[in-house]
Amino acid sequence: MGRYFLRRLLIAIPSLLGISLVLFAVLALAPGDPFEELATNPNVPAEVRANLRAQFGLDDPVAIRYVRWFTAMTKGDWGFSFVSRVDVDQLILQRLPTTLLVIGSSQLLALLIALPIGVYAATRPYSLFDQIANTFAFIGFSLPTFFTGILFILIFSITLDWLPFIYRADISATGWHWYWEHFKQALMPVAVLGLFQGASWTRYVRSAVLDVIRLDYVTTARSKGLGEITVVVKHVVRNALIPVVTLVALQMPAIFGGAIVTEQIFRVPGIGSLLISSILANDTPVIMAVTFVFSCLVILFNLLADVLYGWLDPRISYR
């Protein structure tokens, strides 16, 4: 298992390099100049601008700029925010836990929805339950997250007045009350993301279980006299989860996309809303760093999926 993990880690490095190359290419190909604003500012003399350009290395050849940029990025030296006048890594580290908390709990919710419903629907294919679950799954992943978010705000915040629709990091309450307030404000963003993911995962789980449940080894397990629950949970689900993990890993980039939208709707102070606000404020270092962090997160979660594979199917890790 350790060697397997190490091998996957080594495979992840070229993809990190590739992603950083794409990111840098986009930045280098882009027209315009990060110091354009200074050019229109009459208070900044031309020499100061030229000095700044030299300091940031904007006049060097592209290859050197890439190497320097990549080493700086991997060292966590992400530069200085033009707008909030703070180091970018500090800004991101402040906001990353919130994003991870929201994404993590929404994935948990999606799993709690998709696994039981998908498995139950697959054990009774084309029954009434299956058809209802299927229709709801279709509705669930056809509802874009931004519209679900608005619907939730309309229903739960404005009409019923149960939940706050703005996420606040600075809640003054203490003790249990503090946890309760946090739970209440996180409920809607987590539900929006979790329901969307849960809907598509339900379909994956259902079709994967359907593929497995008719195989001979399941019949063998039944004929040994095992109970139906043991057969489904221990024999069917574990094998059915392998393709599901693949599909979930492929969806990881889309999950982060959904997180950006959700953070923007509910004003969650995570790195997604940081990305949008820095785009609106032309804060290039922050934009680059956040995109880089998202790329690293995608690779990290793919690595996690690989580890899960090794656990689900020991043959993979012994290869």
Partner: protein, 310 residues
């Protein structure tokens, strides 16, 4: 073999010869069996007809500002109400729907063309080209799409706007970028189809008859691998509509004077408490368009899969 043919009633052979159906008619017969897909097709036709013909019938200008009628609910003069400037929402939605749907279909076309090209080249050429193209596909699959989409639009928007005008510039950018981030599943599907099809007997026969590689691909392999591509393309239309709406909803898509459905939602989200209709109508439009397209995709998957008995 001969015995079994004789044993079966001869009538069935005769009727089979009489009702020979083309693949298209057969697919349509199978598609009709999927009731939700049929309903989806109906809804989509209604939406397309509405956005194509609607602006001709409902000839209210989309940018006529009337402060005396701002934030109104549904009424006879404004069937879907008005926004904060008193602009008619029905007219804006009909016009915006054109753009949303056009973006969806155009991005789908790009995704399919690029994906088929990459998948076909990878599938027909073995060795290093195949490996390199598949590495590229996997790389694109693990890119964080929305952040990159936002980054590209942020960096290139102003130049394109200056080059071809704000509307066309954003349209080209949004379509190209969405299309370029959606081709990977198509490429994988086409490659998988090519890998199995190129070893099939009918391709071998064509090769034995001296067909060039191009002819083998264009005449024999490609037409037989299009089923999954059509399904993936259908789903791509829905995904592209969502992607465009997401961009507009974040305020980074089309300019405010182009009321796509996502842009309408973006403008409406600050008035949820006093004018919920403003957000509900465009949101439902996106939802119904996407839902119907997804159902059509599901129906096509059943209809175009020859292994599935229906």
């Amino acid at each position: 073999m001969a015995g079994s043919t004789l044993a079966s009633p001869t009538g069935s052979i005769g009727s089979r010869a009489a009702n020979r159906v083309s693949p298209g008619a057969e697919a349509w017969r199978r598609f009709r069996r999927h009731r939700l897909a049929l309903a989806g097709a109906l809804i989509l036709v209604v939406i397309v007809l509405a956005v194509v013909l609607g602006p001709l019938l409902w000839a209210v200008p989309i940018n006529e500002i009337d402060f005396s009628a701002k934030l109104q609910g549904m009424s006879w003069s404004h069937p879907l109400g008005t926004d904060d400037l008193g602009q008619d929402l029905l007219a804006r939605m009909l016009y915006g729907g054109r753009i949303s749907l056009a973006v969806g279909f155009a991005a789908m076309l790009i995704a399919i063309v690029v994906g088929t090209l990459v998948g076909a080249i990878a599938g027909i050429s073995r060795g290093s080209i195949d490996a390199a193209l598949m590495w590229l596909t996997d790389l694109f699959l693990s890119l964080p799409q929305l952040p990159l989409l936002l980054l590209i639009i942020y960096l290139f928007r102003d130049t394109l706007k200056a080059l071809v005008g704000p509307e066309v510039g954003v349209f080209i950018l949004v379509v190209a970028v969405i299309g370029c981030f959606r081709w990977m599943p198509v490429a994988r599907l086409v490659r998988a189809q090519f890998l199995s099809l190129r070893e099939k007997e009918f391709v071998e026969a064509a090769r034995a008859l001296g067909a060039t590689t191009t002819r083998q691909v264009v005449r024999h392999i490609l037409p037989n691998s299009l089923g999954p591509v059509i399904v993936a393309g259908t789903i791509d239309v829905a995904a592209a509509i969502i992607a465009e709406s997401t961009l507009s909803f974040l305020g980074l898509g089309f300019p405010p004077d182009v009321p796509t459905w996502g842009r309408l939602l973006y403008d409406a989200k600050d008035y949820l408490d006093i004018a919920p209709h403003w957000a509900l109508f465009p949101g439902s439009a996106i939802f119904f368009a996407v839902l119907s397209i997804n159902f059509i995709g599901d129906g096509l998957r059943d209809a175009l899969d020859p292994r599935k008995v229906m």
